[in-house]
Symmetry: C2
Subunit: 208 residues, 2 copies
C-alpha cells in the first residue's frame, strides 16, 4: 500500500461492509471473496477491493478475505475495537427514539450520557441513564466522551456545538437542519431528514 488519502466515501462504506459481514450466513467457510461480499452489499467487486486495499494487504490472492480477520480489521480502521461512549444532547422526540435504539451496538457505540435544558426532564432516569443539565457538557472531556449526537432545536445548535467543542468533542452527528461551524479537526456528519424527504416528490412519475 502506498500513501493515499482515503476517500470519505470509502470510510462511509466500511460500516456497511462490517454489518454485512456480521449478518453473513456462517456456513462454515472461513473466507469470503470480494465478489461474494459485493453481491450482499449491492456494490461492485472492484469497489470492495479498492476500499480495502487502502489499508494494506488484507486479503489473500486466490482465496479472498478471512471473515473474522476482516471484521477485526475494519473495526480497527474505524476505531470500533473498544466501545465508544457517545453523548446525546436533547431528549425530545428524536432523542428518545435514538436512546431506545439498540442497533448502535453493532458498531460498538453506546449512548452513555444525556443532556437537557428542560428542568422537568433533568434528573429523570431513562434507559438507566440519568439526564443531566446541559451545563454539565464541560465534564465530557474528563469522562472520555468525544462523540456527540445533536437532537435539539435548530436555534440552539451552534451554541451547544461550541460548548461541545470546548469540551473536547471531536465528532458530532447533527440532526438539526442547521449548518454547524466547527474547526477542521472536528468532524460533523449531518442527517437532514427533512431534505431527504423533500427530494422524493421530484422523482415521482409526472401526474402522480
Amino acid at each position: 500500500m502506498r500513501y493515499h488519502k482515503v476517500p470519505d466515501e470509502t470510510i462511509r462504506r466500511l460500516p456497511v461492509y462490517l454489518r454485512g459481514l456480521c449478518s453473513f450466513p456462517n456456513d462454515g467457510s472461513r473466507s469470503i471473496s470480494s465478489q461474494q461480499l459485493a453481491e450482499v452489499l449491492h456494490v461492485k467487486s472492484p469497489q470492495v477491493r479498492k476500499d480495502l486495499s487502502y489499508f494494506g494487504d488484507i486479503g489473500t490472492p486466490g482465496v479472498g478475505y478471512d471473515i473474522q480477520k476482516l471484521k477485526k480489521h475494519i473495526r480497527t480502521i474505524l476505531r470500533l475495537n473498544n466501545t465508544h461512549c457517545a453523548a446525546l444532547i436533547g431528549y425530545g422526540n428524536l432523542g428518545a427514539a435514538l436512546l431506545k435504539y439498540t442497533g448502535f451496538k453493532t458498531f460498538c457505540v453506546e449512548i452513555s450520557a444525556v443532556f437537557e435544558i428542560n428542568p422537568r426532564k433533568i434528573g429523570r432516569v431513562v434507559q438507566k441513564i440519568k439526564i443531566e443539565d446541559v451545563s454539565n457538557i464541560s465534564s465530557l472531556r474528563k469522562r472520555g466522551i468525544s462523540v456527540a449526537i445533536l437532537a435539539i432545536p435548530a436555534l440552539e445548535s451552534q451554541d451547544v456545538t461550541d460548548k461541545l467543542i470546548d469540551a473536547g468533542v471531536g465528532g458530532i452527528l447533527n440532526f438539526t437542519p442547521s449548518y454547524l461551524s466547527a474547526p477542521t479537526n472536528v468532524k460533523v456528519v449531518n442527517i437532514d431528514i427533512g431534505v431527504s424527504l423533500a427530494c422524493l416528490p421530484y422523482y415521482l412519475p409526472v401526474g402522480a
Copy 2:
C-alpha cells in the same frame, strides 16, 4: 437552458436553498444574489448559479434572484406546490418521533396515514391519525399517496417495500439498515443512522 440531466446532488441542494430562502431576513429587499445565497448556505456561488440554471433562466443578470419567485420556482421543480401526503409505515420509537415532527411542512409534506402490524397499536388515534392495519397499504393508490416512510424492523422491510410498490408508491424514505430492491422508476432514499454514527470515531484525533 439546453437539455441536461440534472445531477442528483443538485436536487438534494434545492430543499436546502428553499429552507434558506424561507428563513432569510425579510429586510425589504426583494431580490438576492447568488453570492448572498451562497454565504447563507455555505456553498460556492457558481454552484448556486449552475444548480438553478438547469431549470431555465430564473434570475436577472445585474440584479439577482427575486426571492418570492425563486421560492415558488424551487417548489415547482421539486413538486412541492401542493401538499404531498406521505404514509408512515411502523409506529415504533422512530415512527412516533417522525409523526410528531412539524418541520416537514416547510417542504409541504405531511404524514397522513400510519400503518402498523401490531394489533395493540392498530386503531389507536395519534396526532389525529388513526393507525391502520398494514394490509391496508393496498389502498394507497386510490388515496393518492405515493410517498412512504419506512420505519419498521429490517427483516420485514423488503416485504413491505414490495407491497408499497404494488400500491403505486414511487418514493420511499428508508430508515431501515437494509438494501431495498425496487424498480428504477421508484426512488429509494436511505437514511442509515447507524452507519453515520459509526463513521465518527475514525475522524477523531489519535489517542482520543
